[in-house]
């Protein structure tokens, strides 16, 4: 029974099929069908040598939610708020979040729910969950009537302190379900049961706004797949790097905002486990953007907040940093003489100048072509022909503007600036988070990652780069190896010394049981199921908390306080002058382990094992201000454990690895390519 991962990106749909029985892996790439994404998905599947009724696990990474959120193409959404608080979404935190310093023309992203669709009902719960004012039934009836009139597709219910008591929100949900048909309903105490009304309401509004879009997409897709013979759950990658059923994703679409880039992190984690390398940075560079994420001790970093379409989203999510640096990033000289590469991109259309589709501005891909690093015959797996002379004249224009006589120096400048931008993106997820990146291995993948991995590593002081097998399909591979995963987070504010630990344990168990139930529905065997319980604690009066793993069957005040104090000291090297420890959140993670995938190295084609015979040609390639005669290798012809010295270029389907002069490369026995600084 096969497993298939399908990663649908803006330009390409990447697929990977794996048969555990034979160890066979098949990777494929087809153009994404932007008008009807389902179509490209199914076309891609058709190319794989397997029938869908023989597939036991079909996994999917998608940018449907991301794009709807960023491009503001979600549903017409209403909101129901505690009376007096319908403007919480518009007021926010008063922060701009996306620059704007010294820019009087800054425009804030509009709220997801217009004020005219923001309704109020009288009700009130306090922070302890006590009812201060009952839910006003007349208000509710009026709002329901209005909802029918205004023709909305979705509604989010946002009441104060709903994390502490969901009663009123639930009552509204039930009421609406009975009376307003065809409405996507979600509520804040369910989507993100956390204190801080703006963040909770925003996540809930996002969920409602994305709900109908994601629901439509997934149900159309599932229909097509069922028609094609696939009888099991379609599994969706979420922002945590785990997968969930399409059914669950339709209910919580906000959790799929990072569905696209999360596959790469999952793949990086898998690679680290397989190779016994615990600290890695995933570096996924594609045509328009680069995604980076830090994995430490085989745990990917999580972010408290992410800005999506100009709004802060606080849900459990990987700390993936995305910047506008890709093969299509455009180089330009500003009026004041400063030199920029990206974030503007030539996109898929017209694409880099060398594509000959009307792009005139020099891009990173054009620069690599001029430098001889990118083989004209291997631009993105050979499916495209490129015209080096167009790249050259585009880069010549840059050279002229820079006052450089030499087009190659300009081309190298473009690459250097792009590399420096990507290095900054990695600094943001490492140094800014207190992690020195230098001991980490850089996992370079995506269409353009292997081409720049060594230079990015070098500018950060990293000495090791890994270009995995199937670098152009690595994110899709990541889908295959992803666990089922459900995250539950609930605010429960109480001092440890005053806490009713029985209640806390009960809440934790209930969250765990909900996780078990969901995993069972998704087909996880109980023996493959893990539940992790964490209490997030802080010293009273602080804003930051730390997570302490607990066993709900064995909670004591003394152990909790002691564990927290130890962890706090280990983290901050500081022991504050207080012992008042507060429980803030209960966090439960339910994991259904993925079936094992073992990546057997593809057998190298017979070449006698001699490196000398492997190069298909020698080309003059520009590095560090000069040309070097550089051997060009075919990756599939490099035997295992082959070693070679830079400069060298290694071509393969969907990617090109550049080994600069100061680097050496080795084909690891696992088949992955290891690059080391000499």
């Amino acid at each position: 029974m096969a497993m298939i991962g399908v990663d649908v990106g803006g330009t390409f749909t990447d697929l990977v099929m794996h048969e555990p029985e034979t160890g066979r892996i098949v990777a494929g790439k087809v153009p994404s069908t932007t008008g009807n994404l389902t179509e490209g998905f199914v076309q891609g599947l058709d190319r794989l040598p397997v029938r869908l009724d023989r597939v036991r696990r079909l996994l999917h990474g998608t940018t449907v939610a991301t794009n709807a959120a960023i491009e503001r193409k979600g549903a017409r959404t209403a909101g129901i708020f505690t009376s007096g608080f319908r403007d919480v979404l518009a007021i926010g935190t008063g922060q701009r979040f996306t620059g704007g310093l010294f820019n009087p023309g800054f425009r804030r992203a509009t709220p997801l729910i217009p004020r005219s669709l923001s309704f109020e009902v009288r009700e009130r719960i306090d922070h302890r969950g006590r009812e201060i004012a009952p839910l006003n039934q007349r208000d509710l009836a009026e709002v329901a009537a209005r909802l029918r009139d205004v023709a909305v597709e979705a509604v989010s219910i946002c009441f104060l302190h709903a994390y502490a008591n969901e009663g009123h929100e639930r009552a509204v949900e039930t009421y609406l379900k009975d009376r307003v048909p065809n409405l996507f309903v979600c509520r804040s105490g369910d989507v993100l049961p956390q204190i801080r009304e703006y963040e909770r309401f925003t996540a809930t509004a996002f969920n409602a706004y994305l709900g109908p879009v994601v629901e439509r997409y997934l149900s159309a897709l599932e229909d097509r797949l069922r028609g094609a013979g696939y009888g099991r759950d379609l599994l969706l990658m979420t922002s945590t790097g785990g997968v969930v059923s399409a059914r669950h994703a339709s209910r919580y679409p906000v959790s799929t905002v990072l569905s696209g880039p999360a596959g790469g992190v999952s793949a990086g984690l898998y690679l680290g486990r397989a190779l016994g390398i615990e600290n890695l940075i995933t570096y996924d560079m594609g045509g328009t953007s680069t995604d980076v994420c830090l994995i430490k001790n085989l745990r990917p970093a999580f972010a408290a907040q992410r800005i999506v379409g100009g709004l802060p989203l606080r849900i459990p999510q990987l700390d993936i940093n995305t910047i506008g640096a890709g093969g299509g990033s455009i180089a330009r000289i500003e009026a004041d003489g400063s030199f920029r590469v990206g974030p503007e991109s030539s996109g898929a259309v017209p694409g880099p100048a060398c594509y000959g589709r009307g792009g005139e501005q020099a891009t990173v891909t054009d620069a690599n072509l001029v430098l001889g690093r990118l083989s004209p015959a291997n631009p993105l797996g050979g499916s495209l022909t490129v015209r080096p002379e167009l790249a050259r004249s585009a880069v010549e224009r840059v050279a002229e503007a820079l006052g450089l006589a030499d087009v190659h120096r300009a081309a190298e400048g473009i690459v250097r600036v792009a590399v420096s931008n990507m290095a900054s993106a990695i600094r943001e997820v490492s140094i800014e988070r207190g992690e020195d990146p230098r001991p980490f291995a850089l996992v370079a993948f995506g269409g353009a990652g292997p081409m720049h991995g060594c230079e990015v590593a070098q500018s950060l002081g990293l000495s090791r780069v890994i270009v995995p097998l199937y670098p152009g399909n690595f994110s899709a591979l990541g889908l295959l190896v992803s666990d089922l995963r459900h995250e539950f987070l609930r605010s429960h504010l109480t001092l440890v010394e005053e806490a009713d630990l029985g209640t806390v344990a009960g809440l934790l168990r209930r969250m765990g049981e909900e996780g078990r139930r969901l995993l069972a529905e998704e087909g996880a065997a109980p023996s493959d199921t893990d539940i992790h319980y964490v209490l997030e604690l802080r010293y009273r009066g602080q804003a930051h908390q730390l997570g302490v793993e607990v066993n709900p069957g064995n909670l004591t005040r003394e152990a909790l306080a002691a564990d927290f104090q130890r962890l706090y000291f280990d983290t901050w090297s500081y022991r504050p002058d207080t012992t008042a420890v507060q429980i803030v959140n209960l966090r439960v993670t339910a994991v259904g382990k993925a079936p094992r995938v073992s990546l057997a190295p593809p057998t190298p084609e017979a070449s006698g094992g001699e490196i000398g015979e492997a190069p298909k040609q020698v080309r003059r390639v520009y590095f560090g201000g000069d040309f070097h005669d550089t051997p060009i290798y075919e990756r599939s012809r490099l035997p295992l454990q082959a070693r070679l010295l830079g400069p060298a270029i290694i071509d393969e389907e969907g990617a090109t690895t550049v080994v600069p002069p100061q680097w050496r490369a080795e084909v690891h026995p696992s088949g992955h390519l290891f690059l080391h600084r000499r």
């Binding site: 518009a90 701009r96 704007g100 023309g105 005219s116 801080r196 009304e197 004041d336 600036v417 600094r427």
Partner: protein, 711 residues
């Protein structure tokens, strides 16, 4: 107007040595970009390192600090999204340190400065300076300005509207070495921490900064090693030269001439009175002079500042208008000369209190924005610059402990030519580091229950583009008693609009007690420890941004949509925008008629040149014939605004003058400069519309304070 040139101090306020003209060997733009990237990362990382490693609430929780890399002479080389009012004035701190220590500066020194007569802010904001030497040569300063939650003085938090001397506002630190060559100056530190509240937390904050200096130095040296010291210094010059070039080009595109504006503070902390801020901006070729010399003398209350206050305001306004965007360094300031005069608000002398200097800085930014609006209409915006310190303090009977609850929402931004202002958002002149607190979190800690958190309807200045709305937050005190302190400026006068637009609603805090609505700031302009008690509903009202352009020109569909969304009341649609709504849609015929009538009813007066502007107790009077006043519908002492084509409104009070010709507006030299027009020009005159008046109804305090001493 008063003011002799020789009394003034003038210099290119924050610039280093002017750039050498003429082309030098062109630096490699790729290298410059890569190194500049590294320096920007350096500044950003410094910020995160401090947040991560600090314990004290100022740093860890409120992030109320800023970082900069500065040149040996203090010129800013790199800042990130740090708070300009924090970091821009540190140039003065570096200069003061160099004046004080001369050559006695060494690697490992840490110099502290918070002297408000140098830095022009409240003393809580302490500048920490760390020089970097390479080969015996001073090459950079790493600078952190941190707001200490308390710096001593008469009240917890150290910022209090009723201070009368700087000694009541905390411990004043002239440039002093807290570390000498890496060794702590314990004598100073002991005295420092003995003079502040909760010294352990302050000390923890301080030690975190010291540690971050060590880390940052290491990181900076890595950059120097990687790229070469000379290359890094070259880059630091190139980026500043570029900023200078951009600014000079932008200034050169403006017509030469003089631009002027004036606005008023509403209170000095003790009494409601008009305190004028005046600026004259002279553009000559590719440089400009921003002259605050005609502003009011320093006041008895704490609304005083220094040259740094003026310079920061000028920098922020000019940078935003002429070179909008994130590339920020001192090069932009080289073409700008700032002038202040001794004894005025912008050169207050010890021991005048100064803890309101941040408020002054924000309002000074507004006055420069108003002056330059006619020169840069595409980037100009309705007024919104405001600080805001308010808190409720008291005793919570449930916990048995005292509490201080800071709740500092902000307001809307001014409209620009291209679009409406933003609702409740940090303006372009502030950093993005502080947030409005979640009301849910406050409820867990303080004896208050949130009743509402709403956009303030009609608070955005009406105009062709509408100002962003402010906010209205309601807190019900559910137990105990306490006090309310609120320093927000302006508290009575609306923020001005531009080019005929109305202003945005000002700030105030009102208290509903039973049936009555109390306005604590009525007497003094600021609420100072106003007593509150169980059952009171405290309503914090924050500002709306000024509008842009004539409201009668606003697209009727936009007004309809505003009414539909509830941003604008139908009364406002009718009275300010001239839109007649019927059955949820625009009655086009009635609207056209109404707009025609409103236009026809407008009062235009003809400028008559007089030798002197008419001032009383510093503030502007407009001499009107009783007939003109009647047409305006206003009486003696009321506030009117005079709007010349393409300018910001010049406000003043009506002085009825029976000898005055009804169609004339006697205008002194300063007024004519604001109007950018001479005798014979027609100026639109109207009552100042204040949205707060509608909002508060009968509780609205008399719009003009008692004219004490008026003759």
């Amino acid at each position: 107007m008063a003011g002799e040139a020789d009394e003034r101090s003038g210099r290119a306020a924050m610039a280093g040595a002017p750039s050498q003209g003429g082309p030098a060997a062109a630096p490699d733009p790729v290298r410059v970009e890569v190194i500049h990237n590294a320096l920007m990362s350096f500044i950003k990382e410094m910020r995160y390192t401090i947040i991560r490693t600090a314990f004290g609430p100022s740093l860890r929780e409120r992030h109320d600090f800023s970082c900069a890399l500065q040149a040996p002479d203090g010129e800013l080389v790199a800042i990130y999204q740090d708070n300009p009012p924090h970091i821009v004035p540190t140039v003065y701190a570096v200069r003061a340190a160099r004046d004080r220590f001369g050559d006695d500066l060494h690697q490992g020194d840490v110099i502290l400065v918070n002297d408000p007569y140098v830095l022009g802010g409240h003393m809580n904001d302490v500048a920490h300076l760390y020089p970097i030497f390479e080969g015996g040569r001073l090459i950079f300063w790493i600078v952190i300005r941190l707001h200490y939650t308390d710096i001593g003085g008469m009240a917890a938090g150290s910022i209090t509207p009723d201070a009368t001397e700087v000694y009541q506002e905390g411990i004043r630190i002239p440039p002093v070495k807290a570390y000498q060559k890496g060794v702590a100056n314990d004598a100073f530190l002991d005295v420092f921490f003995a003079n502040v509240r909760v010294p352990d937390e302050r000390k923890a904050d301080f030690m975190a900064l010291i540690a971050s200096f060590w880390t940052s130095e290491k990181r900076l040296r890595e950059i120097l090693d990687t790229h070469g010291t000379d290359s890094v210094l070259e880059c630091s010059e190139v980026v500043r030269d570029r900023a200078e070039r951009r600014m000079r080009d932008a200034i050169a595109r403006l017509p030469d001439g003089e631009y002027a504006y004036e606005l008023n503070l509403d209170s000095d902390g003790f009494a409601r009175r008009w305190i004028p801020l005046r600026v004259r901006v002279v553009i000559a070729g590719d440089s400009m002079t921003v002259d605050f010399g005609d502003s009011a003398p320093s006041v008895a209350g704490p609304m005083n500042g220094s040259e740094a206050t003026a310079a920061c305001a000028a920098f922020v306004a000019v940078k935003g208008l002429l070179d909008p965007g994130p590339a920020v360094n001192g090069g932009s300031f080289r073409p700008i000369r700032v002038v202040t005069r001794r004894g005025t608000l912008f050169q207050a002398q010890p021991p005048t209190p100064t803890c309101g200097a941040q408020d002054l800085m924000h309002r000074a930014t507004s006055v420069v924005l108003g002056a330059l609006a006619p020169a840069v209409p595409a980037n100009a915006l309705g007024d919104h610059c405001s600080p805001g310190h308010h808190y409720m303090a008291g005793h919570d009977p449930e916990t048995g402990r005292p509490f201080i609850m800071y709740d500092s929402p902000i307001g809307g931004t001014g409209a620009v030519q291209a679009h409406d202002g933003n609702d409740v958002l940090a303006g372009f002149e502030r950093g993005d580091h502080t947030r409005i607190m979640p009301m849910e979190v406050h409820e867990t800690e303080f004896p208050f229950l949130a009743e509402f958190n709403e956009l303030r309807v009609d608070s955005g200045g009406a105009g062709e583009r509408r100002g962003g709305l402010g906010v209205r937050r309601g807190w019900r005190m559910v137990r105990g008693r306490g006090t309310l302190t609120d320093m927000a400026e302006p508290s009575f006068t609306p923020y001005h609009g531009l080019l005929g637009a109305h202003g945005g609603a000002p700030n105030t805090t009102v208290v509903s007690r039973g049936e009555s609505l109390l306005v604590p700031a009525e007497a003094t302009g600021k609420a100072v420890r106003f007593p509150i008690q169980e059952g009171d509903l405290v309503q914090i009202l924050k500002w709306g941004g000024g509008g842009y352009g004539d409201p009668l020109e606003r697209d009727s569909r936009a007004v309809l949509e505003d009414v539909r969304q509830g941003y604008v009341s139908s009364r406002s649609a009718r009275e300010l925008y001239g839109i007649v709504l019927a059955a949820g849609t625009v009655d086009a015929v009635a609207t056209r008629r109404l707009r025609e009538r409103l236009r026809a009813d407008r009062v235009y007066l003809t400028v008559v040149a007089v030798d002197r502007d008419t001032l009383h107790d510093q503030s502007r009077l407009w001499l009107l014939a009783p007939e003109a006043a009647r047409r305006l519908g206003c009486g003696e002492g009321e506030m009117i605004e005079c709007i010349a084509q393409g300018t910001a409104p010049l406000r003043g009070r009506v002085r009825l003058c029976s000898g005055q010709a009804a169609g004339e507006l006697p205008s002194g030299p300063f007024a004519r400069k604001v109007f950018r027009a001479g005798a014979g020009a027609r100026v639109w005159v109207r009552r100042v519309f204040n949205p707060m008046q509608w909002e508060l109804g009968s509780a609205w305090p008399s719009p003009h304070p008692a004219r004490e001493g008026d003759s």
